[in-house]
């Protein structure tokens, strides 16, 4: 992150973060954009949203009145609140976006939100999602990723025709597809970085704290 970069947190309406690293990211953010009902969770935590995006079906009349000048109305029924929030951040001055609160409750929301991250990365490759257990990032082509020895790493192909080669992981992949979500789980970084070469498309990486 450069000194002049503007960091946004996009707070989804899942489980409010509790891990110190996720909370540190929330504290340091220049702007916090809340998906609808997540604004109440942020207020309960003791912070104020800079913007609230959605159709406001999940916020109280008090919040509506108090933050009337921070509401970004987006009634589009064809997309969900997380995508509305992401589109809003993209239209602002965000140089990086971290999604928080996107997992930990309904598992179908968790799966959907994680896969949306891969879509968002086509517009903003540096986007990441921090949970209470680790960080999801998205990589394409070839990339060296910072790590530490023994860090737990999992890889998820959304496109199972993709071939992956790894360097610096305990269980190396050699031009191999990951046709099932479990096949790339429970790997481990051997040193302070690892490298992935990906034939096409993008790959979801989960790095435990």
């Amino acid at each position: 992150m450069t000194q002049s970069s503007i960091s946004y947190v996009l707070l989804a309406d899942g489980l409010f973060p509790s891990h110190p690293q996720a909370l540190a990211c929330l504290e340091k953010a220049h702007k916090i954009v809340c998906c609808d009902g997540a604004s109440q969770k942020l207020l309960d935590f003791g912070k104020e949203p800079d913007y609230i995006v959605g159709d406001f079906d999940s916020i109280s009349p008090e919040v509506r009145v108090r933050f009337h000048d921070r509401l970004v109305h987006s009634p589009d029924q064809e997309t969900n609140d997380l995508t509305k929030g992401f589109r809003f951040c993209l239209g602002q001055d965000a140089s990086n976006i971290t999604i928080l609160g996107a997992t930990g409750l309904r598992e179908d929301h968790t799966l959907g939100n994680i896969s949306l991250l891969a879509d968002y990365a086509t517009y903003l490759p540096s986007i990441r999602m921090m949970t209470d257990f680790g960080i999801f990032i998205v990589v394409s082509d070839s990339k060296i990723i910072k790590s530490y020895p023994g860090q737990q790493i999992s890889l998820f192909s959304i496109d199972p025709t993709q071939q992956i080669t790894s360097y610096g992981l305990k269980y190396p992949l050699n031009n191999r597809p990951l046709t099932n979500w479990w096949q790339g789980t429970l790997n481990e970084s051997l040193t302070d970085s690892f490298r992935l070469d990906i034939s096409h498309g993008s790959l979801l990486i989960f790095q435990c704290y």
Copy 2:
């Protein structure tokens, strides 16, 4: 379930269930098989495991001694504890298996365990996973699924070449692939059942409580 059916719960080492429906399933089970460290969580809840499967790296010496005649040693490094537990259940007299405790902590474990359910269903189509928010089942070919009006339904294709047609869902699918995990989320049942026709392979269904 017929009167003579033998119901097994396979308890994974994720978040211990808290939803009444998941706990009712645990209470009614004829046999409870714990994946390694899940045995301690079950004991803390006030119940005893019938079997503990794994390499026992996550259980205390006291539990090892107390349940020495219920330990099923499986040191295979090529597979995880959930799969070890599933294989054990299959080799017993289980006529149905419900997986509990497989989600709610590390998201990579959640994703891996959900996709393993689809693998297990090729051996035992009736297998299901109950979470604190709903039930995952796996269907193939054509199937009518019991529901209730307004029930939240999400569909996940592990094979994105699969074509799906739905009847009785609010947002109908017409011979459509689900190439991304979010594309089949947030649907809704219109009546007391819905039907899915699947071109090939199997499909994960999540039904909220």
